[in-house]
């Protein structure tokens, strides 16, 4: 349960970062400069936010000359919507641990 979910949630917990991600989802590929004009924070700050989003698998970057273009990876959100799949894995592994515990309780 923890890993991919947690990374996505913490990456999107910051309102500025969430705003950048939503803008990329709606507006398609954009440069750091283009995003800075709309984000209301400095370009280094936007770059830092993009770095966090990239690490979480939420955006992809593409270098072209001196410009870096960013696109949203919407499919990274699928685990959030399909929580059932994640929880199924979680509970299957908990059941395994429960089984181990029950065996130990015999001794």
């Amino acid at each position: 349960m923890p890993t991919p979910h947690d990374v996505i949630f913490s990456a999107l917990a910051d309102p500025t970062r969430r705003g950048i991600f939503e803008r990329l989802c709606r507006g398609g590929e954009q440069t750091v400069g283009g995003l800075t004009a709309l984000a209301g924070v400095s370009q280094p700050a936007v770059s830092k936010h993009l770095g966090v989003l990239k690490k979480a698998g939420l955006v992809l970057d593409r270098h072209e000359g001196r410009q870096t273009h960013y696109t949203a990876r919407r499919q990274a959100l699928a685990p959030l919507v399909d929580w059932t799949r994640q929880m199924t894995e979680f509970w299957e592994s908990r059941f395994d641990d429960l089984d181990d515990l029950l065996k130990r309780m015999d001794q």
Partner: protein
């Protein structure tokens, strides 16, 4: 969006254990045993008792909803924006005990089902289905 506001999703895990119901019941309701297979906790087997499951990644807020010794146990399970109910049903079987766990929760587009307001999640999750619907 065309989904109904009452739609829920659930996860069901069923397994046959070669152990008697009373033993499984102990594993499900005694804090030191729960900690061995699920998470650290302050569980008390009393209806309406609120408890927290704590993992190294965060915590889950729970409340006991139903207790029927050796047969049924249910508690709410609220974590990371998901409000759900976890229900355990124990049925004696030839081999030991049939254990059924169902976790039922709400879809992300049901704003009232999400306790994420403090993180500003509601607006975001409200848009999520729309965003995900465009996934290639």
């Amino acid at each position: 969006m065309t989904t109904t506001s009452t739609e829920t999703r659930s996860v069901v895990i069923e397994r046959e254990f070669a152990h008697a119901p009373d033993k499984i019941w102990r594993a499900l309701t005694q804090p030191h045993l729960i900690a061995e297979w699920l998470m650290k906790n302050d569980f008390v087997p009393t209806v309406d008792h609120r408890f927290t499951l704590t993992g190294d990644w965060g915590s889950v807020d729970c409340k006991v909803l139903e207790i029927e010794p050796q047969r049924a146990l249910a508690y709410s399970w609220d974590a990371m924006g998901l409000e759900s109910v976890v229900s355990w049903t124990l049925t004696p079987s030839a081999a030991g005990t049939h254990v059924r766990m169902e976790q039922a929760g709400f879809r992300p587009d049901q704003q009232q089902a999400f306790a994420g307001a403090k993180f500003g999640w509601q607006k975001f999750l409200g848009n999520l289905d729309e965003v995900v619907a465009r996934i290639d």
